[in-house]
């Protein structure tokens, strides 16, 4: 999957939660949008959408804190 397509899918999901505009490298954790529910839904969404399995050791904020970081994370999982 090309990077752009991946990012669009991620943004589509995030759009349910994040109201303001944000760039691909913006940390939405710092924007105050992360709670346990959001985090869990994000993880489950990524697993289903990209057919990856997120392991306990992958559950680091840095893997999920921006569109760029999520896309990078998915790429490493798909390799």
């Amino acid at each position: 999957m090309i990077m752009q397509e991946m990012k669009e899918k991620i943004r589509e999901f995030l759009g349910r939660y994040i109201e303001e505009d944000y760039s691909d490298d913006e940390d939405f954790y710092l924007m105050g949008y992360v709670n346990s529910l959001f985090a869990m839904q994000l993880v489950v969404f990524l697993e289903q959408e990209f057919d990856i399995s997120v392991e306990n050791e992958d559950l680091e904020i840095k893997n999920f804190s921006s569109v760029d970081n999520i896309a990078k994370f998915i790429q490493t999982k798909m390799e």
Binding site: G15, S36, M40, V43
Partner: protein, 347 residues
């Protein structure tokens, strides 16, 4: 601390209607007659905090109107009245109420329906309609505790149904929806009168539970009085009503280190994003007391959300052995309460 090995307790009883709740077949007979033993059983289960639901092949409106005429309609959560398979209905009910399918019982007069449900869901307790008499005495239907909260359980689920309907009709983003609920979390140290509810929650809650430890009533009582432990209890209210007491936090306090032995949240509030709020309360308190904050965690198949709560809440794993691990909070992590919950702390 002990494992709870007793018989699996039923949280929701799913009833067939024709020839089970009433004598007769609604579509065919001129009149159907509700069975007194069934009314009695439904009401008693309800008092015990066990929910009632319906899986019936009928026209929804006709069946609901009939139940209304018997003044029974308000007892049922998430009724499944349609022509699809009852195995699907059972699955849908477990999903809607957000409880494990193994905590459901299903009652029907037709062996075929019982067999079908049993085939797809072997963990569901299937009971023939002839055996309703005597059901109330079975240990599966006798909760360990009946508290004020158990008596209100049905109402809480009904409030939740209203919220979900509101959520579906609400087109704005999720965060806006959470804000619109005007949630207030009230946190206090547990008092002796809270301990029944504490024990009930530790036994009932598996999904949003960090360790699954259960404690005897005496152990819990000792935590309330001794200085070596802190036991906090959280309740949640919103504009639709109260969820009651929905969270527990047990901390073992040593001089320089606090260890979270147990953090659990009732599944009732799973979709409210408040587990992290309760946790932030403690990280702030530990910071003020200038102690290290650690947490035990025992992985199981269902409690991943709590692990995520810790990890995204600023905790890092510092040691690990099999399914058991210890996490420690990094105070560089800032823990703000989310904008959609007001936190009220009772000293």
């Amino acid at each position: 601390m002990f494992e709870n090995n007793s018989v699996k307790k039923i949280k929701c009883v799913v009833w067939d209607l024709d020839n089970t709740v009433w004598d007769g077949i609604l579509l065919e007979d001129k009149q159907v007659y509700v069975k007194p033993i069934v009314i009695e059983t439904i009401k008693r289960l309800d008092e015990r905090g066990i929910l009632n639901s319906i899986a019936s092949k009928n026209e929804f409106d006709d069946a609901m109107n009939k139940l209304k005429s018997f003044d029974l309609d308000q007892y049922f959560i998430s009724p499944q009245i349609h022509w699809n398979s009852k195995a699907d209905s059972i699955e849908q009910i477990a999903k809607n109420i957000n409880i494990g399918i193994d905590t459901l019982a299903f009652i029907d007069d037709q062996q075929y329906e019982l067999d079908e449900v049993k085939y797809y869901h072997p963990d569901v307790l299937c009971i023939h309609a002839d055996e309703v008499n005597g059901m109330l005495g079975r240990p599966e239907f006798i909760p360990n505790y009946i508290t004020e909260d158990s008596k209100l359980r049905r109402k809480m689920y009904q409030d939740e149904e209203k919220r979900i309907l509101a959520e579906v009709s609400f087109q704005a983003p999720k965060m806006e929806f959470l804000k619109s609920l005007e949630m207030v979390m009230t946190i206090k140290e547990a008092e002796p009168e809270d301990l029944k509810r504490v024990e009930e929650l530790t036994v009932r809650t598996h999904q949003l539970n960090t360790t699954g430890y259960t404690y005897s009533f005496d152990e819990l009582s000792s935590f309330v009085s001794d200085k070596g432990h802190k036991l906090f209890i959280a309740s949640l209210d919103d504009r639709y009503g109260s969820y009651g007491k929905i969270g527990i936090l047990l901390v073992e306090c040593q001089k320089d280190i606090w260890m979270i032995k147990l953090l659990l949240m009732s599944c009732r509030v799973m979709t409210k994003g408040v587990g992290s709020v309760f946790m932030s309360f403690l990280t702030r308190k530990a910071e003020a007391e200038n102690v290290k904050l650690q947490a035990e965690f025992i992985h199981n198949e269902r409690n991943r959300m709590m692990f995520v709560t810790y990890k995204f809440g600023g905790f890092q794993v510092i040691s690990e052995e099999g399914k058991h691990c210890i996490l420690e909070y990094d105070f560089n992590h800032k823990s703000e309460y989310p904008p959609y919950v007001t936190v009220q702390i009772i000293p």
